[in-house]
Assembly symmetry: C2
Homo-oligomer: 242 residues x 2
DNA sequence: CTTTTTTAATGGTACGACCATTAAGTCCTG
DNA sequence: CAGGACTTAATGGTCGTACCATTAAAAAAG
């Protein structure tokens, strides 16, 4: 960073907010690019003509927002981050956690997204991508005969399949939404793999869905997606009974 | 707050994070309920056996997360907030903003969401809600004859209509996503209202959509939504030519 | 040239003082 | 007694300094 006049002093109460806003504006306005570093705290303190505590609090807020990443030590400092979906996902997770979002509501949302994604994936996905999807489900099939599978691994595979499906739409928005949902609520799907019966059905359903997508059988694929959510709802219902 | 041992001391590097985590856990675990206040900063400083700066930074992070609200003065302090959709939406909006989403991709996503929302709104919305929607579009109609309307006001009305439509689904997830989209990208719709021709068509389209929804004419409503996005795409295309 | 040591820059913590704001209590006046 | 004006105490907000821990680069040693 040069000694140019990027920032202007601030004196009123809530100075921390002001500082954070100015820096945020500089980042969003691309006057500081991702990867670059902000001036050190002591330099900022001088530029803003304020105490170091104020700067630190502003930094904390920006870090929490996911705009910067902070590294200690020499040549350390605050580095502008390329914003990732993770932050939004965490907020979503927090929101859902405190507001006790009904699993049914979430499933409803996911189903609608899944249907759209499936349609787009069929019309836009390349043959290679479709084949890769089928291959992925084949890997899943290996767990059919395993009586005590690694559930973590299984859930991970499920996540990857969902995300690669979303990638096939060629629309990053769908990919981001899917990642957010996966990060926030893989726990729901987890239940689906715990019970042997549901696990078997879910894996088979995945395989079928992938086959339909690879064969460009849109209606069949959608129906298969629907079946998946029927399964999920049954599973949730059974879990709640216990 | 009593002087009970809610929190335990912390000494390692990154103490601020630890403090924030402990308090967040207390909030999420409902050991402190929304509306209640945390101990004062100086009290927390004593409980955590740390400096006040650490506490303040933790507070800043929690505030940014939307978990607490801070009031100055006597009987002030940090009050636990009931988390609202808005907080999570802002996060997503910020993310969308920095990542320069292609308008076409965004429109595609919005269209799919809009279609689902419309379907759910028709099947679940009450007669009152549907009427309110129609009334809202009537208000929009008033701008048809205005040759130089207040575009800000117009965009605000549009936002409200979209959000109330999302609320009719009875599913907070849809409301969340709609709010985020509105926060991040009302600017796109803005263009739609700037040009007289598009403005007229868009307003009429809104009215028609609302009528169809109120009349439970699902197919017609969906077709009307489709028409809206055709308009949007035309508008974007024209804007890019200039 | 490689390894080790030193060094300087930077974030993290602590303490202490003071200011600004605010709600509650207190006092004065009518 | 009622109501407004003043005082007070608690709390967040700011400032400054000193020191520690970490880290990467520079310097020294082999």
């Amino acid at each position: 960073m040069s000694d140019s006049c990027l920032f202007s002093p601030v004196q009123v109460g809530r100075a921390g907010e002001e500082v954070a806003l100015q820096i945020e504006a500089a980042i969003l306005g691309e006057r500081i690019l991702p990867g670059e570093s902000l001036p050190s705290e002591r330099e900022l303190q001088a530029q803003f003509k304020t105490g170091r505590g104020v700067i630190r609090e502003a930094m904390r807020a920006l870090k929490q927002k996911g705009l910067i990443e902070i590294r200690k030590g020499a040549r350390g400092g605050a580095f502008v981050k390329k914003l990732e979906v993770t932050n939004a996902s965490e907020s979503l997770a927090l929101f859902l956690k405190q507001n006790r979002i009904d699993t049914a509501h979430l499933a409803e949302f996911r189903e609608s997204i899944d249907r759209t994604i499936t349609m787009l994936a069929i019309t836009r996905g390349s043959a290679e991508q479709k084949q890769a999807l089928v291959d992925g489900t084949k890997e899943l099939q290996a767990y059919l005969t395993d009586s005590d599978p690694d559930l973590e691994k299984l859930a991970e595979l499920d996540r990857e399949l969902n995300i690669s499906l979303a990638q096939m739409t060629g629309n990053p928005v769908f990919e981001w939404i899917m990642r957010a949902l996966q990060l926030g609520f893989s726990s729901n799907d987890f239940a689906l793999y715990e019970d042997l019966e549901f696990r078997t059905k879910t894996i088979l359903n995945w395989c079928q869905t992938a086959e339909y997508i690879a064969a460009n059988e849109m209606l069949q694929a959608l129906s298969s997606i629907g079946a998946h959510y029927v399964l999920l709802r049954q599973c949730v219902e059974r879990c709640q009974k216990k």
